[in-house]
Amino acid sequence: MRLSVTNLAVRRSGRRIFAGLSFALGPGEALMVTGRNGAGKSTLLAVLAGRLKPDAGEVRVAEVGEASLPECLHVVGHRDGLKSALTAEENLAFARDLLGAPALAPAEALAEMGLAHALRLPVAYLSAGQRRRVALARLLVCRRPLWLLDEPTAALDTASQAVLAHLMARHRAGGGLVVAATHQGLGLADARELRIERPVPPAAGGPGDAAWDAAETVA
């Protein structure tokens, strides 16, 4: 699969998050999205996941057949998408049935994440790190070429971070793509980096100019 983003611009609540963002990723490539808090890393991932409509620019996929972009990606973010009342196995089985393209069985996927013992435990009993690992196990339960990870190492200990790094390497070796928003390194070898910086509006600019600009945003 190939992913190309051209000239992307997003506003939320009238606030410009970023503009003029372009990149392209081919099979096996990874992209690290960095930038300070509030710079728009999560927003970019939301646009890629199809949850947020960009105000300008486009996101394209190729070499995936007829599937649309949201159908060929996994999202693991701050909100882990797990139901506390269901067991880890039930959560993963639900994700597999909903998303299709089954790969590993829930038990195998949890074992890879070192959580085999949590198979029949309700997710409510798990710690934040364990929940994150259950969410990451979803990556293995269904086969999808693009992984969108938002701060995937948050709440993970060093051993689990190593497991994640290993999984990402294997995914990329199989032709998969990874886009990860992160503060710290992820152990992504030869990953490219996209730094999103706060937009700097033109310092000069009379009030008339600004008023016209504001009219344009309404337009």
Partner: protein, 222 residues
């Protein structure tokens, strides 16, 4: 698509059974309203049996609102909704599955329990059966209309009150024909079948409009 539908229904039913949330609660609420009415009107059994179907229907409309605000909000908060938008099945199927599961845990128990509660307002056998049947046919309309409001307010904190304000006016036709069908079964000038057929039609219209509108509201809800 079928497997996604089945998985969603199964998951929501399991959740409802485990968390023991809205389903049982709306039944209790239903009972509570039915129990309150005699305190307001007096224990005149003749009067109660005459307005019994109306009481049951009013209670059903209000009880439908219980738990409706969490229908999509719970999934929106924990990120499950992102999972669902990424599913190959269209969002309409997701909405349909979730609403079906919600109806199975709230609307259906209400309809099934209504004969029992009919005893409290001195309904005779025919009236009880008729009221239960109208509730069975009509509560899907209430749930689907409610689902639109639930989808619109999914991302609003404390959306419960605004949800009620949004959907209650839209539930008026269902209420009118539900009560009218139940009343006509125990006497009246209108044959039972006429309002019942219209009630069924309302449920079908609500199913189509509600599914499309709720899916549209959830899409790009951010």
């Amino acid at each position: 698509m079928i497997s996604a539908f089945r998985a969603l229904v199964a998951r929501d039913l399991t959740l409802a059974a485990r968390v023991g949330g809205s389903g049982a609660l709306s039944l209790v609420f239903f009972l509570m309203i039915v129990a309150l009415v005699p305190f307001a009107l007096g224990p005149d059994l003749n009067l109660l049996s005459r307005i019994g179907p109306a009481i049951l229907w009013l209670a059903a409309v209000l009880a439908t609102l219980i738990g409706l605000d969490r229908l999509f909000q719970a999934d929106e908060e924990d990120g499950s909704l992102d999972l669902m938008t990424g599913a190959p099945a269209p969002l309409e199927v997701v909405v349909l599955a979730k609403v079906a599961a919600h109806w199975l845990t709230t609307g259906l128990p209400l309809a099934l329990a209504s004969p029992l509660f009919g005893l409290l307002v001195a309904l005779d056998g025919t009236a009880m059966a008729a009221t239960a049947l109208t509730l069975l046919v009509g509560t899907p309309a209430l749930t689907f209309v409610g689902a639109v409001g639930a989808a619109l307010t999914a991302s609003i904190r404390r959306g419960g009150l605004i949800l009620a304000v949004l959907v209650l006016p839209l539930m008026i036709p269902t209420l009118i024909f539900g009560v009218s069908a139940a009343q006509s079964a125990i006497g009246g000038t209108v044959p039972f079948a006429t309002p019942l057929t219209i009630l069924a039609a309302l449920s079908l219209i609500a199913a189509v409009v509600g599914t499309l509108a709720a899916a549209a509201a959830l899409r790009w809800s951010e």
